[in-house]
């Protein structure tokens, strides 16, 4: 029964990805490029060790971002503001991290905590507006993205900026001291016999991201709070009648979503940049929405989706070398979102229809056997 549903879903996802590849192939053929060559180039480039490390490092922020979005989605709250939340959170956290010196674990914990709190505080503005003024969170979070970007730029330029040495033109916060950095996982890889090329660093934040995924699962599916949250998402009226307080739930969910959002770029910040610079990746908040969508808000599926997007992103880099426009990556990504979402919906309907049939059959059987 559940196995059947799982198989239907798996089949739908694989079918969707194959369909997306087929559609992308058509696009490639239209521009007179060989799809086989393109995909082979991407595949072989992606299977290099440094590519794999890069894919994981890229997938981590996407995953955290998707989790942040998914928390909101569970109660039908659309947090479009992950983008602004993580930027401002990372900035403040990096600044705090660069300003203090603490023993290792404490230092890192402090930075992560600050990031989560700032993200939560920033998203809570939208939560408060929604709960008490009825402002739709899509509007308020989009606005807060703009405000956050502006505020971040102002804070960075005027308050958090570290005067850099000599002729450097990079705008950045002070470097986080050694104690506040997360170690690379390269020694572990090397211990496993993997030869890590120079310049490649597997950030240990990936472990933290896995913990976040587990935390997300437990929060949503194993706690009463998560139950209330999902109940609200499934049927606000019934949730309300069961005693769920809508305002309170909106505030809490928005804050939790923002707290996750605050951690989006902690991997790069603690693992490689060690400060907040203008090079911190952007647009992760929006890609996170796509990842959550493709991963249906489920912890493991979102991880797969994040890896898929990271794979596309990394492997597309090789295309310029082969004379293939790397924009094909954007097309594949977009088509995958569409096909997977459609396939998920189809799978849902098939499963639903089957469940209804099963239940009806059961009822009919009971009726024939007489009432229990």
């Amino acid at each position: 029964m559940n196995l059947r549903s799982a198989l239907i879903r798996l089949g739908a996802s694989l079918g969707a990805i194959l369909l997306a590849l087929a559609l992308s192939s058509i696009v490639l053929l239209i521009i007179d490029r060989s799809p086989l060559e393109a995909f082979a180039a991407m595949g072989s480039y992606a299977s290099r060790v440094d590519s794999m490390i890069s894919i994981i490092n890229r997938a981590v922020p996407l995953y955290v971002s998707a989790v942040a979005v998914a928390v909101g989605f569970q109660m039908k709250l659309f947090n479009i503001g992950v983008e602004g939340q993580y930027r401002i959170a990372a900035l403040v956290a990096a600044w705090v991290g660069g300003a203090v010196a603490l023993p290792g674990i404490l230092h890192v914990s402090l930075i992560i905590l600050v990031a989560a709190l700032v993200g939560a505080a920033w998203s809570s503005i939208a939560g408060i507006l929604k709960a008490f003024r009825g402002v739709h969170e899509v509007i308020s979070t989009i606005m807060l993205n703009f405000i956050g970007t502006g505020l971040g730029a102002w804070l960075l330029a005027n308050h958090f900026r570290e005067e850099t040495e000599g002729g450097s033109l990079i705008i950045a916060t002070a470097r986080i001291p050694e104690s506040g950095r997360l170690p690379s996982l390269n020694p572990v890889l090397e211990g496993l016999g993997v030869e890590v090329p120079s310049g490649s660093d597997l950030h240990s934040f990936v472990l933290f991201a896995i913990l976040l995924g587990v935390g997300y699962y437990v929060l949503i599916w194993r706690t009463r709070l998560g139950y209330d949250l999902r109940a609200f998402g499934a049927n606000p009226g019934a949730a309300e009648a069961s005693g769920v307080n809508l305002k309170r739930m909106t505030l809490i969910t928005m804050a939790i979503s923002g707290a996750f959002a605050g951690l989006v770029v902690m991997g790069p910040v603690l693992g490689s940049f060690h400060r907040y610079t203008t090079d911190i990746p952007i647009e992760l908040g929006f890609t996170g929405i796509a990842v959550a969508l493709v991963g249906r808000n489920r912890p493991v599926q979102m991880a797969l989706a994040a890896l898929l997007f990271a794979f596309l992103n990394r492997s597309a880099q090789i295309l310029d070398f082969r004379g293939i426009p790397k924009e094909i990556e954007t097309i594949i990504g977009g088509v995958i979102i569409l096909t997977v979402v459609i396939a998920n919906e189809l799978a849902r309907r098939v499963i639903q229809a089957q469940e209804v049939r099963d239940a009806a059959a059961k009822t009919a059987r009971d009726d024939e056997e007489g009432p229990a």
Partner: protein, 524 residues
Amino acid sequence: MSDVSTTEDTAPPAGNDGPPAVRLTGITKRFPGVVANDQITFTVQPGEIHALVGENGAGKSTLMKILYGMQRPDEGTIEVKGKEVTFRSPKDAIAKGVGMVHQHFMLAAQLTVLENVILGEDPSRGGAIDFRRAKEKIQQLAKTQGVPLDVNRPVETLSVGEKQRVEIIKVLYRGADLLILDEPTGVLVPQEVEELFETLRELTAQGVTIIFISHKLDEVLQIADTVTVIRRGRTVTSVPAAELTARQLAELMVGSELPTPETRPATDLGEAALSVDDLRLRDPDAGRDLLHDITFDIRGGEVLGIAGVEGNGQAELVEVLLGLRKMSGGRVLLGGEDVTDDSTRERREGGMGYIPEDRHSRGLLLPAPLWENAMLGHQGSRPFARGALVDRDGARQRTAEIIESYDVRTPGADVAAYALSGGNQQKLIVGRELTADPRVLIAAHPTRGVDVGAQAAIWEEIRRARGEGLAVLLLSADLDELIGLSDRLMVILRGRLVAELDPQELTPEELGSYMTGAHEEVSS
């Protein structure tokens, strides 16, 4: 009731020859588990105001949806102006001159009257909207209604009565000469009701035919030429309004025979489980009281039934008692403790069980598995929760018990709620509320939309729980249910409890007159 002639062959109002405006013959519509319309037959003459009365749930809305093309009948025929028609959509209905004014207005607030009227029906000239021609036509229509209306005003600035008029014009603009008005006075203040009636009389004078759906008997008698009564999906009768008194009409609606009370007299009643004292609820928008002077006690082992035509404050009463709406005055005591300012959760955890009247909007998480549905409303207590965590094993086990004890037909506890039939969904809800051992059960239409088998089972469970000392507040439109289960009956009318009756000695006449307000007329 026999003093009213049953008149298939009632003479049409004077001055009308030719085919009837509408003739419905043998209309039957079944939904899973229920027959909404059962062989409904009646005739509407051209130029008359024909009232269709019956309690909510009697099948009026379904019937009108069929006539307006929103649903198709399983059996029966519709004739419009003497010709048999088949409506596949409201568009077909409008093409034959049948238009509907809905209870809830379907207007775009920011657009003007003019734009709203022509919306979806633009008079175009060379691809551009011909506003001038449309304006003339609308002004003409407004004038014939005898009420001035500025077509350039945005709809959001109009009063409720004016909005309704826009709806009527919208329908007339599309060429309808048969108007269906669904509970048109429900949203109006008395002054506006008068104006509406003026308009309706103007329209019939111009040959428009009107079907007027209502359960307000005084209004029906005031405006209608002919009254058709529907009860439990069947046509009871069609009578010229002039031949009816309010009392007779009330009796027709309620029926001639009341079911016999089946509840065994309560042996020893406990303390007051639920006390409501002078409860008041004010609608801040309309500036009137939706509920006033509501006072009652229910003791353990007692079922208090609230009878009344729907829309008289029952839904509001339930919401206030559950804490979903903040009351404007009064007190509510649950087991002797004042819960007036408590949240819904505090009330539910304090032992307030709830069977909602609409299980889909208030009672279930349809995409969630049964075991998650079984904990809804009880998610904070054992066996569903342990500390801050959900106890999945406990919840599944409890769900299995509910499935077993309440005969919920399902392949298992992990099936999504949408997979179950209405009756089984309802049995699950009843099971989860009763298994949680509440102090008070608020049961709103607990057997609405379920099949007969499930209905009997649910009644039996409620009786059993009462026998074990549960206090029940039962709100229902089903007299079998009300009289069959209640120890005491109270009647709610326009937000007020107007009578307390003993189900053992109740007459249909008495109940009907209290429910419809006919009693007031008689006594005054």
